[in-house]
Symmetry: C2
Subunit: 387 residues, 2 copies
């Protein structure tokens, strides 16, 4: 398989984008990535779109063809990839395989979700489809409820506290404040989180990522061609994905996401690195407890030790490891299909030294961790600065 590099990235402002349609968001991110790569729409020879629920949220399926049409690509193979909240990370990996295989040479991976055209309750019901409709949703549980179960068990087994979970949100809002693309630009305190409305005990409103609109795009080429497009190609040195039961209750352990552990192990092995080599990571903090589990599943901390470390500031900007410098899903926002691609865009900026106002010093190796459902899917990608 060929070595693959990212040579262009683009992002929209995340948030409640009542000013923009699905097509508008696609244009905003897609064109930015063309400009960044110094390419035109006619240069792209395949398109992978990450999107979860356009059918339910906008009554538009066939979003692969829609994006190819909106960006006026040249009749290229285009498709939508769906894996709930890991749709973006999955699209990234499929685009990577397409280039690595030799099948395509200049591939776009674009993530998109337009979520605010429906009510919050309709969006929440739509997102519920990431879990098991028959054996979870029909019994009345929502996604905050599933993660609340994981949080309670993590608290029980490891002594994790609500204040430690709150510290994840505080850190991620602080990072988002420095990111012009973020949904939220609001510094919050642990006290703010603790006093926010209870959603699913022990998760409060500020423990939950928001419902956002947004799109993110990147362009991959064979590493041998990368210097034609950029002085700082970013190499994909590992890309792995794993699955687990759809229903949370069928798992061995709900204080950890097994699919993420498996994917991380494979990605580290491909990239020939160990967790401590990672300088900067974007992880899937759909709820604050999810970031704590991610730190442990990715091997950054031993089981039961991440919550205290986060609370102590070890994962803040330029800490022991800088986590969710974009603001994460919590602060930057979570347009689900776009999230996995946005994570990679942020890592590209960090590795290039272009993360204005939130740059991690000497970032050489970055990682993205994107989870679908309550952990039924996980994708881990490892990026490094090219030579």
């Amino acid at each position: 398989m060929r070595k693959v590099a990212i040579v262009g990235v683009g992002l929209t402002k995340f948030g409640e984008r009542y000013d923009a349609s699905l097509r508008n968001l696609v244009s905003e991110a897609g064109i930015a990535s063309f400009q960044d790569a110094g390419m035109s729409n006619k240069d792209i020879d395949a398109l992978y779109v990450g999107n979860m629920a356009s059918g339910r949220l906008t009554e538009q399926e066939h979003v692969g063809a829609l994006v190819a049409d909106e960006l006026a690509l040249s009749n290229v193979p285009a498709l939508k990839v769906e894996n709930a909240c890991a749709s973006g990370g999955t699209a990234f990996r499929q685009a990577y395989i397409a280039v690595a295989s030799g099948m395509h040479d200049r591939v776009m991976a674009l993530g998109i979700e337009k979520m605010t055209d429906v009510s919050t309750s309709e969006a929440t019901t739509g997102l519920g489809g990431a879990g098991d409709k028959s054996w979870e949703l029909d019994d009345g549980i929502t996604f905050p409820g599933l993660y609340a179960l994981m949080a309670r068990r993590h608290m029980h087994d490891y002594g994790t506290t609500e204040e430690q979970m709150a510290s994840v949100a505080v850190k991620n809002h602080a990072n988002a404040y420095k990111n012009k693309y973020a949904h939220f630009h609001k510094i919050i305190s642990i006290d703010d989180v603790m006093k926010s409305k209870m959603i699913a005990d022990p998760l409060k409103l500020y423990d939950c990522s928001p419902i956002s609109d947004g799109s993110a795009s990147l362009i991959m080429v064979p590493a041998d061609d990368a210097k034609k497009y950029t002085d700082t190609p970013i190499i994909i040195s590992g890309s792995a994905q794993a699955s687990d039961t759809l229903r949370l209750a069928d798992r061995d352990d709900i204080t950890s996401i097994k699919a993420a552990r498996i994917a991380a192990e494979k990605a580290y092995s491909q990239a020939r690195i160990k967790p401590s080599d990672v300088n900067v990571a974007e992880v899937h903090d759909c709820f604050t407890i999810a970031e704590i589990m991610a730190m442990e599943d990715l091997g950054f901390y031993k089981k039961g030790e991440a919550a205290k470390a986060i609370f102590d500031g070890e994962t803040g900007l330029n800490g022991r490891i800088s986590v969710n410098t974009s603001g994460g899903l919590k602060g930057c926002g979570h347009p689900v299909g776009a999230t996995g691609i946005k994570q990679a865009v942020e890592i590209v900026w960090q590795l290039r030294g272009e993360a204005e106002g939130r740059q991690v010093s000497n970032a050489m190796i970055g990682l993205t961790h994107n989870v679908g459902g309550s952990g039924s899917t996980a994708v881990v990608n490892i990026l490094k600065r090219g030579d």
Copy 2:
């Protein structure tokens, strides 16, 4: 890239499967394909699921993880691929790329659609998402309406008649009658088609494929490993895909599907064959006019000459070329995400000589043609009998 072979296939009965859930259909097709390949669920190392509208039709997204869970695969990378009615063909091609690249060794491509849990009107609205929501559906047109426009123009430009279109349905029902998996087992006459209820002038009820439930599955491996699993491996000698505008009105010509012409040309070139080398083809007859256009787009007939040839019986079983021996979408049924995989399953059976009661003599090369929306996506795959 590695040469890839299909070593196992499985299919459910298509139809109004009120007896079976989404999960039940997946099991039925998936287990049949394991048995056919002499593999167990633990042998599979990646899963590609073709599905269009599970979110709207069953409130279940994340169908990649659901299928991996239902078939008890081993935490493998699993994902859903969506391209409207070409979701199955697209999943096939992505699975092919995954094996050809060297990324995965034993890959399942499974198509599934459960459509009858909602009303026909809700299903029709859901299918409308294959077109342009803002610029077609919101203006009131349905999918039969879009294909009716194509039919009218084809009649105007080439003198195609309603009786010639009807002959497609008559042929495909005759083939379906010989296929135990088909939705319909009912011989019909041209007169029956002509007298059936008008849906969108000139398309009548019997010009339209039905709303069906069903699933289809196949397993691919590197061709070098194929003999471990089967005496008659089927080689994928060409696989290509193309896109076009989402909206029909933006096309240069609506009497032909440009994406299909582009995909066919690439697939023939990869396979180093010409159209006349194809013995058996499964084409996308969502409406009878679509099969006529397919015959022309695939180069089997010159533009404007296919309708008469079909009417004259040239594409019947063991005719000049045998088309839609399964019964096609019209006779075998059209569970949209399953269709593209079912087409490949039928071709595998034909090339192996296992198409009981509807076998094409000396079938050596077969083709599948799967279209999404009104032609915004097309996938063409070419299969041949291995040595």
